[in-house]
């Protein structure tokens, strides 16, 4: 006869089970920590790289806008003045800078005229020219003009470029950096928040300091507009039909399986489809947000349909029975009772689908959204057919460029994209909280 077991002493089996449970908990916690760590590392890296894109170095000097050189015809007519290209403006700025430095008594040791000019961005003459063409009355005046500093100078003030690295860099000399530092001490150069990064258009590979996300943000917004307008009604209607009205037979089973499969199709396939159908067959323009929106609509539809069906089937059948029992028609029971209860789930699914579409790159590459676009698209609806870029494609585009300053820009654009995605997901959570009802 075995002695009576005491509850105060754990038997071997219990001990083994408790050990297994403790082990499993530790593993689970470890997995969570690894995931969190990876996320923190990722966001931290992007932040460290990209935060600089939101600050920009500007220098402001008085510039005499010489009427004889900028308007040789003397007509003050922007059409005539346009004959003077940016190359006509560049020497003007260089002279103004040299003169201002002399007046302020800042030494220009070992700096030739070309090196001096390189402190100013190549974008500055173009900006000055645009300003003058817009307002010819400025000619003859001496204005304090604020212009972008060159990419390397900007990098110096953000810590990307140092005196050591400048010695090995063909694009910048340590003397330039010393001068820039002197100018900053004199208050000619300052670094501040860079609105142009969010509102300005893209710039060429030689002018990273001027590159902005404006066109890409607008293009992405236009595409989201198209996706929302098309995918939400079509997806919800399809889901309602399949869930509430369609007979349950082999055909609807096949449709269901295929919708689920469609959600798993690689996105680049949708790009090929869009290229073949919307551009080659339907003749829609390349690089246009409307085509991008259509392609992303195709991609988002399965997500919305699946989310909507899940939301509809989560509504208790007793609600349907109650409505039908009162003599409501099938459609009345769906639209008066089932759909309002499913709305939070549908909204959440839609926003998650939109967020997915916002971050999608591959299909957009195939329909020409990767093109270099400097002109802002017009307001919708016409603007939907104008060439535009998109945020993720802009990130991809910038990472391809040679100048290291574009690494910073690409990381900055990633931050903007992440910010938009987090905002959309927050909206989804808030809407779900707001409209969730008990039954």
């Amino acid at each position: 006869m075995t002695p009576a077991k005491s509850l105060l002493v754990a038997d071997p089996r219990t001990r083994a089970r408790n050990t297994a449970e403790a082990r499993f908990r530790a593993l689970g916690l470890g997995a969570v920590l690894v995931g969190l760590g990876a996320l923190l590392l990722l966001v931290g890296t992007i932040l460290a790289n990209g935060a600089g894109a939101f600050r920009q170095t500007y220098l402001s000097i008085p510039v005499m806008l010489d009427a004889d050189r900028l308007d040789p015809a003397g007509t003050r007519d922007p059409a005539d003045m346009a004959a003077v290209t940016t190359f006509g403006y560049a020497p003007l700025l260089a002279q103004a800078l040299q003169q201002h430095l002399l007046e302020r008594g800042i030494a220009m040791d070992g700096i030739g005229p070309r090196d001096l000019m390189a402190i100013i961005s190549q974008e500055a003459p173009a900006q000055t020219r645009a300003m003058v063409l817009q307002n010819p009355d400025l000619l003859g005046q001496t204005l304090r003009i604020e212009m972008l500093a060159g990419g390397r100078i900007d990098g110096y003030f953000k810590g990307r470029v140092t005196l050591q690295s400048a010695e090995r860099d063909a694009n910048v000399t340590p003397a330039q950096l010393v001068l820039a530092q002197a100018m900053a001490d004199a208050g000619i150069i300052e670094t501040r928040f860079n609105w142009a990064f969010l509102t300005g258009p893209d710039a060429s590979g030689q002018r990273p300091e001027a590159a902005g996300l404006g066109v890409a943000i607008l293009g992405s917004l236009y595409m989201m507009l198209v996706v929302l307008v098309l995918a939400l009604p079509i997806g919800v209607a399809a889901a309602i039909y399949l869930e509430e009205f369609a007979p349950k037979n082999r055909l609807t089973d096949v449709i269901e399986v295929n919708i689920s499969n469609l959600a798993a199709v690689p996105s680049i396939v949708f790009g090929i489809l869009g290229l073949a159908i919307f551009i080659n067959f339907a003749g829609l323009p390349q690089s246009a947000p409307v085509v991008g929106g259509l392609v992303l609509t195709l991609m988002t539809l399965p997500t919305i349909i699946i989310a909507t069906r899940a939301a509809l089937s989560a509504v208790p059948p007793s609600i349907r029975a109650a409505a039908l029992g009162l003599g409501a028609s099938k459609m009345q029971s769906v639209f008066h009772h089932v759909l309002p209860l499913a709305a939070p789930g549908i909204l959440t699914g839609t926003i998650i689908g939109l967020a997915q579409a916002l971050g999608e790159t591959a299909p957009l590459l195939l329909i020409g959204m990767v093109a270099f676009v400097r002109d802002f698209p017009a307001a919708p609806p016409e603007g939907l057919f104008d060439p535009a870029s998109a945020l993720p494609v802009q990130v991809y585009n910038w990472t391809q460029r040679a100048d290291p300053a574009f690494v910073e820009r690409a990381a900055g654009a990633t931050l903007v994209l992440l910010g938009l995605l987090v905002t959309m997901n927050l909206i989804a959570v808030l809407l779900r909280r707001r409209f969730e009802r008990r039954w």
Binding site: I319, L326, G327, Q332, W439
Partner: protein
């Protein structure tokens, strides 16, 4: 009890409200209900009793064609309401269900206000021309469901916030607001506590003076308390249909007797 018997005596001369002949129901290959013949009289309570799965709820759901909403269900036979075959091809179940209201086993108010719950039926059927008329219907229905006194101050509160018994009375108010002639109740008290059950039973008794009430119940005590006629179903067959008193005191079929005395079911 005397009053009830008088009512009963008065209606036996009239034509039945609902008459079913040879009703069979199939769920896919399952033969759920076999050749049921029954005549249900107006202005009284008819109870369907029997063990689980005997087909009593299935038959109840035939009376307002709720079985139509189940894809695999198939109903044959003839069910006549006021002389009209409700399974005739021209009958729209939507119209039928306005005339034959239903109360379900579990209280299922809409997640809307108490007012909107009751007003929904009249609204979709266009029973009220304006707001005062709708208000009147809502008040009358809530009064008949013995709920008006408890909710008159909070008609805008959600119906789902009421207690279980109140919710079930709200569902009854909702069902009678469309002005039905028949009220079907599918185990209306099975989710309620004894006090709420007593309230609903009293309500059923009151309602039977205006409506033809058909109630499915698991509780034989309830059937004997509220009904004048009782039908006993077993394994998909209607075994016996008679006055409630007779069923419970002197049943004609040995299966009925076994069930009532607790030997089967």
């Amino acid at each position: 009890m005397n009053a009830m018997q008088q009512v009963e005596g008065a209606v036996t001369h009239h034509a039945p409200k609902i008459s079913a002949k040879g009703v069979d129901v199939f769920y896919g290959d399952t033969h759920a209900l076999k050749a049921v013949d029954v005549e249900i009289a107006d202005k009284m309570v008819t109870a369907f009793i029997g063990p689980s799965g005997c087909g009593k709820s299935t038959f109840l759901r035939c009376l307002n064609r709720m079985n139509d909403t189940i894809d695999s269900a198939r109903v044959t036979g003839r069910i006549v309401l006021d002389g009209e075959d409700i399974y005739a091809p021209r009958v729209d179940p939507v119209q039928l269900r306005a005339k034959v209201g239903m109360v379900f086993q579990k209280p299922n108010p809409f997640p809307k206000s108490i007012y909107d719950n009751v007003a929904y039926g009249p609204r979709i059927h266009g029973l009220a021309r304006d707001k005062p008329e709708l208000d009147a219907i809502v008040e009358k229905s809530l009064r008949r469901a013995a709920l008006w006194g408890e909710v008159r101050d909070r008609l805008g509160a959600p119906g789902t916030g009421l207690s279980g018994g109140q919710q079930q009375r709200l569902c009854i108010a909702r069902a009678i607001a469309t002005g039905p002639e028949v009220l079907l109740m599918d185990e209306p008290c099975s989710a309620l506590d004894p006090i709420a059950t007593a309230q609903v039973e009293q309500l059923i008794d009151e309602l039977s003076s205006r409506f033809c009430v058909v109630i499915v119940t698991h509780s034989m005590a309830q059937a004997s308390r509220v009904s004048q006629k009782t039908a006993f179903f077993h394994l998909g067959e209607l075994v016996e249909f008679d006055d409630t008193d007779r069923i419970f005191t002197n049943p004609g079929d040995h299966r009925t007797e076994s069930y009532i005395t607790g030997r089967i079911g």
